[in-house]
C-alpha cells in the first residue's frame, strides 16, 4: 500500500511539474464554458431595432413597453419614414424594424384585426428568424392578455411550453456536452499519454523489473487523473451555475456518482489506448481521432442522433459519451432520479467492465 501511495505521489508530481499540460487540463474546460456560454451562442441579445409608431395609441405603446422590457432588443430611435429605415438596414445599424400602422388600436377594437409590420435583416437567416420569433412571442403574449378580458368565441389557442429550458438558452445543451468532452479528453488522452511516456522514456523497463505488480502501475497512474477529473467537473459545474446561471435540478450526489462512473469508463479507455500505442504521439493521435471525433459527432451534443442514418445511429451506441450526455441532461436539467437513468448507467457500467478487462488482458508484463 505504501508503494502504491508513493507511486500516486510521484504521478501527481509529474502532473504539477508539467505546467503546459496543467494549463491545458484546467484551461480547456474554462475556455470552452466561457466561449460556449458567452461568445458562441444561438441566443441573440441586445439587438438594435427601431420602432416606427405611426399609431401612438394605447395598444401600440403597451406592445412597445413589452418589447423594450425584454433584453433581446435595444430600441435605437424612432424613425419616421421608410427611406430612413431602409438606410439604417443598409448601413447595418439595425437588425429589425417594427412598424405600427395608424389607427392600430381602433382597428383592433372594431374589426378584431390589426397588423404590425416586422422587417428583419435576413442576411443572416438564423438571426432574422430568431428575432422575428421573439417579436412573435411578445405580440402573442399581448394577444393572450387581451383575450382574457375580451371573449372570442371558438378560438383555438396553441399553448407552447418549452420544457426544462423555457427561454431556449444555449447553456443547458452545451454544459453536459462540454462535460462529456473534457472528461474524455483528460481521462483518455492524459492517462494514455502518461502510461506511454513511461514506455517511451524507458522507465517502464525499470518498473517492470521490480516487485511492484504491473497492474498497480496502471492503477496508480489512473488515480491522479480521477482526482483531476473530479476537480475539473467541479470547475465546470461552478462555472455553469454561477457564470451561466444554469441551476442543477437533480441530486448533486447522483450527478457526481454518474460522473465518477463515466470518468472510470474513460480511464479504462485510456488504459486500452496505452496498451495499443508505443509512442506518446501515437497515443495522442489514437485518442484524438479514435475518441474525440466520435464523441463530438455521435454523442448527440453537436448533431441530433435522431436525424442520422441508421448506421451512424448504431455506431453512436458504442460511444460512452452518448450515454453520459443522456444521463447528465436527465439529472442536471430535468432533475430526474436514478430510476429514470438506470438503463444508461448500466450500459456505461458494462462498457467500463469491458474496456477494463480488455486492457488488463492486453497489458504487457514484459517488453513485447
Amino acid at each position: 500500500m505504501k508503494q502504491f501511495f508513493s507511486f500516486v505521489k510521484k504521478e501527481f508530481s509529474h502532473v504539477f511539474r508539467d505546467r503546459k499540460t496543467l494549463l491545458m487540463l484546467f484551461g480547456v474546460p474554462v475556455v470552452q464554458i466561457v466561449l460556449f456560454g458567452f461568445a458562441l451562442t444561438n441566443e441573440i441579445k441586445n439587438s438594435n431595432i427601431v420602432i416606427v409608431d405611426n399609431a401612438k395609441d394605447f395598444a401600440s405603446r403597451q406592445i412597445i413597453n413589452k418589447i423594450s422590457s425584454t433584453n433581446y432588443f435595444k430600441i435605437q430611435k424612432t424613425l419616421m419614414n421608410s427611406s430612413e429605415i431602409d438606410a439604417a438596414f443598409k448601413s447595418g445599424d439595425i437588425k429589425l424594424a417594427i412598424v405600427f400602422p395608424q389607427n392600430f388600436y381602433t382597428d383592433l377594437l372594431h374589426t378584431n384585426h390589426a397588423q404590425i409590420q416586422v422587417i428583419a435583416d435576413a442576411s443572416d437567416p438564423n438571426t432574422g428568424t430568431t428575432l422575428t420569433n421573439y417579436v412573435n412571442t411578445v405580440v402573442a403574449d399581448y394577444n393572450a392578455q387581451m383575450n382574457q378580458t375580451i371573449n372570442f368565441p371558438y378560438q383555438i389557442n396553441m399553448e407552447v411550453r418549452m420544457l426544462y429550458n423555457p427561454d431556449l438558452k444555449g447553456a443547458p445543451n452545451f454544459v453536459p456536452g462540454v462535460m462529456a468532452m473534457v472528461l474524455l479528453l483528460v481521462c483518455v488522452m492524459m492517462t494514455s499519454i502518461a502510461i506511454v511516456r513511461e514506455k517511451e522514456l524507458g522507465t517502464m523497463e525499470v518498473l517492470l523489473v521490480s516487485p511492484f505488480k504491473p497492474i498497480y502501475v496502471i492503477l496508480a497512474k489512473a488515480v491522479p487523473y480521477l482526482v483531476l477529473s473530479l476537480i475539473n467537473l467541479t470547475v465546470i459545474l461552478l462555472l455553469s451555475v454561477y457564470a451561466l446561471v444554469l441551476p442543477i435540478r437533480g441530486s448533486l450526489i447522483l450527478l457526481y456518482g454518474v460522473s465518477t462512473l463515466y470518468i472510470i469508463t474513460c480511464l479504462s479507455l485510456g488504459l486500452l489506448v496505452s496498451t495499443g500505442a508505443s509512442t506518446q504521439q501515437g497515443a495522442m493521435t489514437l485518442s484524438l481521432v479514435g475518441m474525440m471525433l466520435p464523441t463530438l459527432m455521435l454523442s448527440g451534443y453537436v448533431f441530433p442522433i435522431e436525424n442520422m442514418p441508421w448506421i451512424l445511429r448504431m455506431i453512436s451506441n458504442v460511444v460512452p459519451a452518448k450515454w453520459f450526455y443522456i444521463i447528465i441532461k436527465a439529472v442536471m436539467l430535468k432533475g430526474l432520479g436514478i430510476s429514470y437513468i438506470w438503463k444508461e448507467v448500466l450500459i456505461l457500467f458494462g462498457m467500463t467492465i469491458f474496456f477494463l478487462s480488455l486492457s488488463l488482458r492486453n497489458f504487457k508484463i514484459r517488453l513485447e
Binding site: 507511486f7 522514456l201 524507458g202 525499470v206 516487485p211 514484459r366
Partner: protein
C-alpha cells in the same frame, strides 16, 4: 554454484526474421563481475532483457539465482537490480525523489539501506534537489546505479552503464563496481569499450548474437595465436595503404598511435623483409616492435575470422 545460467538461448525479432541471440550458453558464478563485450547490435541488450524477465527467449532456458526467467519471473524481479542502457529515471523528479520512489517501489527506504549506496550517493548528494534531467551524464549513471542498488539486490544487471560518460566518470564507475563486487554482489555488465574488459573477472566477446570467446581477460589475451607487432612511421596514412597491399600479412589495422599487424606464417625473416619493403616504399621514421595483444586485438582478430577460436 552459478548465479546466472543460460542454456542454448535463442532470441529472434520480427517473427523470426531478425536473429538477435543465437544459441548462447554460459554461466556466471556467484560474486563474479562478468562483462559482455561487443559492438552495438551484437545482442547484449537482448540477453540482459531476457535475464531480467523483460523478454521471453524463443528457445532455451535461463536461470537467475536458481529461478527460471520465464516461470519465476516475479521472484527474479524482487532480487535483481537492473540499469537499462538508456537513462531511465524520471527526469522531472529530483535526485532525492527518484531515489525515494525506487526505494519505496522495492519495499524499502533510503534510510534502511543507506550503507549500500553510501559511497555512490555521497558523490551526488550535493545535487539532491536538482532534477534528474539536469544532471550530467556521469551523475545520471551514478543516480541510476543508486536506484538499482537501493534494495540490496543479489544480482546487478548493468546494460552499457558507461556509454556516453566521460573518461573520469567511467573510471570512477568501474571502481564502484569493484567495491560492489567485494560486497558479494554478482554483477553482469555490458560495454562496447574494450579497455573496460580487463576490469572484469571474466568476459564474453559477443558478435552477431554469438559468443566468440569466453574466459578471463588474461587468458583471452594469452590465447592470441600469432605474434603481434606494432608499427608507426611519419606518414601513417600511407603506411596503412602500403601494408594493406603486402601479402605476407594476416591483418593490419590502426590501434591508437600505432598500426597493429601479424604475419601469415611465423618465419623469423618476416620483420626484416617487411622493414625492407616499407623502406623501398619510402617510409621514414619507422618504429617496428613486437607487442602484447589486448582484448581489442583479440576481438578484431575474431571479427575477421570468427571460427579461428577453435585452437
Amino acid at each position: 554454484m552459478s548465479t546466472i545460467t543460460l542454456n542454448n538461448i535463442t532470441k529472434t525479432y520480427n517473427k523470426g526474421a531478425t536473429l538477435a541471440v543465437d544459441d548462447i550458453s554460459f554461466s556466471v558464478d556467484k560474486g563474479e563481475l562478468f562483462g559482455l563485450i561487443g559492438p552495438d547490435g551484437a545482442g547484449k541488450t537482448s540477453i540482459f532483457r531476457m535475464l531480467t524477465t523483460l523478454l521471453l527467449p524463443d528457445k532455451g532456458t535461463a536461470t537467475v539465482v536458481g529461478y527460471d526467467v520465464v516461470k519465476d519471473f516475479q521472484k527474479i524481479r524482487g532480487i535483481v537490480g537492473y540499469m537499462p542502457g538508456r537513462f531511465s529515471l524520471y527526469q522531472d523528479l529530483s535526485v532525492e525523489e527518484n531515489l525515494n520512489f525506487f526505494a519505496t517501489v522495492f519495499g524499502t527506504s533510503i534510510k534502511e539501506n543507506y550503507d549500500q549506496i553510501k559511497d555512490i550517493y555521497e558523490q551526488i548528494e550535493p545535487f539532491k534537489d536538482r532534477r534528474a534531467g539536469k544532471l550530467s551524464g556521469g551523475m545520471k549513471q551514478k543516480l541510476a546505479l543508486c536506484c538499482a542498488l537501493i534494495h540490496k539486490p543479489e544480482v546487478l544487471f548493468l546494460d552499457e552503464p558507461t556509454t556516453g560518460v566521460d573518461v573520469v566518470s567511467r573510471k570512477e564507475f568501474w571502481e564502484m563496481l569493484k567495491r560492489l563486487k567485494e560486497q558479494g554482489i554478482t554483477i553482469m555488465v555490458s560495454t562496447s569499450y574494450m579497455d573496460e574488459a580487463t576490469l572484469c573477472n571474466r568476459i564474453g566477446l559477443i558478435l552477431g548474437g554469438k559468443i566468440l570467446a569466453l574466459d578471463t581477460p588474461a587468458k583471452i589475451v594469452e590465447s592470441y595465436p600469432e605474434k603481434l607487432f606494432a608499427i608507426k612511421s611519419s606518414n601513417m596514412h600511407q603506411l596503412l595503404k602500403d601494408l594493406r597491399i603486402n601479402d605476407t600479412l594476416l591483418n593490419c589495422y590502426a590501434a591508437g598511435e600505432y598500426i597493429h599487424l601479424s604475419f601469415k606464417n611465423s618465419s623469423g625473416e618476416n620483420e626484416s623483409l617487411l622493414t625492407k619493403y616499407l623502406q623501398e616504399k619510402g617510409q621514414t621514421d619507422l618504429v617496428f616492435k613486437e607487442t602484447v595483444a589486448s582484448v581489442e586485438d583479440c576481438f578484431i582478430r575474431l571479427l575477421g575470422n570468427p571460427d579461428g577460436n577453435s585452437n
